[in-house]
């Protein structure tokens, strides 16, 4: 469940966004039907998954491998499609 962006106290007359970071309140990962799973052993750390992700939810770990923020990943599968090592598979949640 997302944290509320508007409350009774600040509910406006029209959905204008006055405070930055509004999208953090709407966890769009809930739209997903398939989730990407990274197979670390196959990953060559090329970073193409991060480059192609349309939602910017692929993040680099300190060890150079990647993780996906499932709160916001919509499960489009572009990362899995682009991965040259087939190190990302899409699985039903």
């Amino acid at each position: 469940m997302s944290k509320p962006y508007w409350t009774k106290e600040n509910f406006p007359i029209t959905p204008n966004i006055r405070n930055p970071g509004g999208s953090l309140c709407f966890k769009s990962g809930a739209w997903r039907t398939l989730k990407p799973v990274i197979i670390i052993e196959k990953c060559n750390k090329c970073g193409l998954c991060q480059v192609y992700c349309p939602d910017g939810v692929v993040r680099k770990r300190k060890d150079g491998t990647y993780e996906i923020d499932l709160d916001y990943c919509k499960g489009c599968g572009i990362c899995a499609n682009e991965c040259p090592k087939a190190a990302i598979k899409m699985v039903v949640e």
Binding site: W6, T14, P15, R18
Partner: protein
């Protein structure tokens, strides 16, 4: 220009926009545009009016420019009708949703096909559910007065909805009347400059930045619809209040509705626009010549729909006849549906008759209206309804009806 002058509703509306000191006028200048924006562009070019004229590439562009200009806090006006209004359709919802107090004059004209350019209410009915306030006027003077009122209604904090001032194409737009023009000082006193609040309105202010027109998830959409609905409800009181203030300043008053000789009427005819003027004459004649207690209820505010006023004016009627200048294909007519919905929940339910007349510029004559009253009187006497929907001025022989 003050005092009295002979002018068309188009000119009167342009004078009203000038007197209201609108800061931006955006419009598409070609058909189905009227001379309203031509007059305004002249006022601005001559320096008689301190405003920006944005000539758009289409009505879609015109309403987009109006939305932008209103979002930076300008008082904004545009005019359109018919195909042009239809082209604005998508943006009309945006303007209402962003709660921008834009005022638009709509010279009611038919929509193609059949391609004509004459009067009926089809164009504005297509925008009925966009969230705009719709006021239908009867005379050129009322058109001028209503445009000035419209800015005040639209900009009221409880309302903040755009307003369409609807008046019958050609019948009013191109007909001249002796018009009383209020002074600039008096209008300025009645309608001070628009001062939106960056914490409340949709207002582009670099000190208080906001993003407008973005996405809204299902968790909040209904609540914003509710807010708009609530604003329409509150608008009834605001329209009344503004109308009273206008009467105090200028001596003319119109109301949400005008009930003409309805108090003791067995038959009440409900109509909008110029037809009402003709109907008043017929009412007088029927009362004088036949002694029939008939009346006419002018719906001035169509959105918000003045349910309470309709109930009050029809409280003693045996028959309510609704005369429509628009059709809802597959069911009947829009005004009839609203009147029926209003009366159904009421304990007093008069016989309700549905008439179509005046489509595509066909003149609604005294004869047409008299025939409507005669049918209604028959229903009042017999308690029976001959037909659910009557095409009052249809050439029945031509279509085998």
């Amino acid at each position: 220009m003050t005092g009295q002058r002979l002018m068309s509703a188009n000119r009167a509306v342009a004078e009203a926009v000038k007197l209201s000191e609108a800061k931006v006028v955006s419009a598409y200048p070609i058909t189905p545009q009227t001379s309203i924006v031509e007059y305004l562009s002249e006022f601005i070019a001559k320096g008689d009016m301190d405003a920006e004229f944005i000539q758009a590439e289409s009505e879609f562009g015109a309403m987009s420019a109006c939305i932008g200009a209103s979002s930076v806090g300008a008082r904004v006006f545009t005019a359109s009708c018919s195909q042009g209004l239809a082209l604005m359709h998508e943006l009309n919802y945006v303007a209402a949703g962003l709660r921008l107090p834009i005022v638009m004059a709509v010279t009611n004209r038919q929509l193609s096909q059949p391609l004509g350019m004459w009067c009926d209410h089809s164009d504005a009915m297509g925008e009925r559910d966009a969230g705009w306030i719709q006021i239908y006027v009867e005379t050129c003077q009322e058109a001028l007065d209503t445009v000035i009122q419209a800015f005040k209604i639209a900009e009221h904090k409880d309302v903040l909805l755009p307003v369409m001032v609807c008046f019958d194409g050609f019948i009013l737009s191109h007909t001249s009347e002796n018009i009383k023009i209020p002074s600039q000082e008096a209008v300025r006193k009645f309608l001070p400059a628009y001062k939106p609040d960056a914490d409340y309105h949709t207002l582009m202010d670099t000190k208080k930045p906001l993003a407008a027109g973005g996405g809204c998830p299902p968790a909040y959409g209904t609540e914003f619809d509710f807010k708009k609905f609530e604003a329409q409800e509150k608008a009834k009181e605001v329209i009344r209040k503004v109308d009273q203030e206008f009467a105090d300043s200028f001596g003319r008053q119109y109301g949400l509705v005008e009930a003409y000789r309805c108090d003791d009427a067995d038959v009440v005819l409900i109509a909008m626009g110029t037809v009402v003027g003709t109907a008043k004459e017929v009412v007088d004649k029927m009362r004088e010549e036949k002694g029939w207690p008939v009346g006419v209820l002018k719906l001035r505010s169509y959105r918000p729909f003045p349910k309470e006023d309709v109930l009050k004016a029809t409280a003693h009627a045996k028959v309510v006849a609704v005369l429509n200048r628009a059709i809802s294909y597959g069911v009947g007519t829009p005004v009839y549906s609203d009147v029926a919905a209003t009366l159904y929940g009421n304990s007093h339910r008069p016989i309700l008759l549905n008439f179509i007349a005046g489509m595509g510029g066909r003149d609604v004559t005294q004869k047409t209206i008299a025939a409507v009253f005669e049918k209604a009187k028959k229903s009042a006497d017999t308690g029976k309804v001959e037909s659910e929907l009557e095409w009052a001025d249809l050439n029945k022989a031509l279509v085998g009806a």
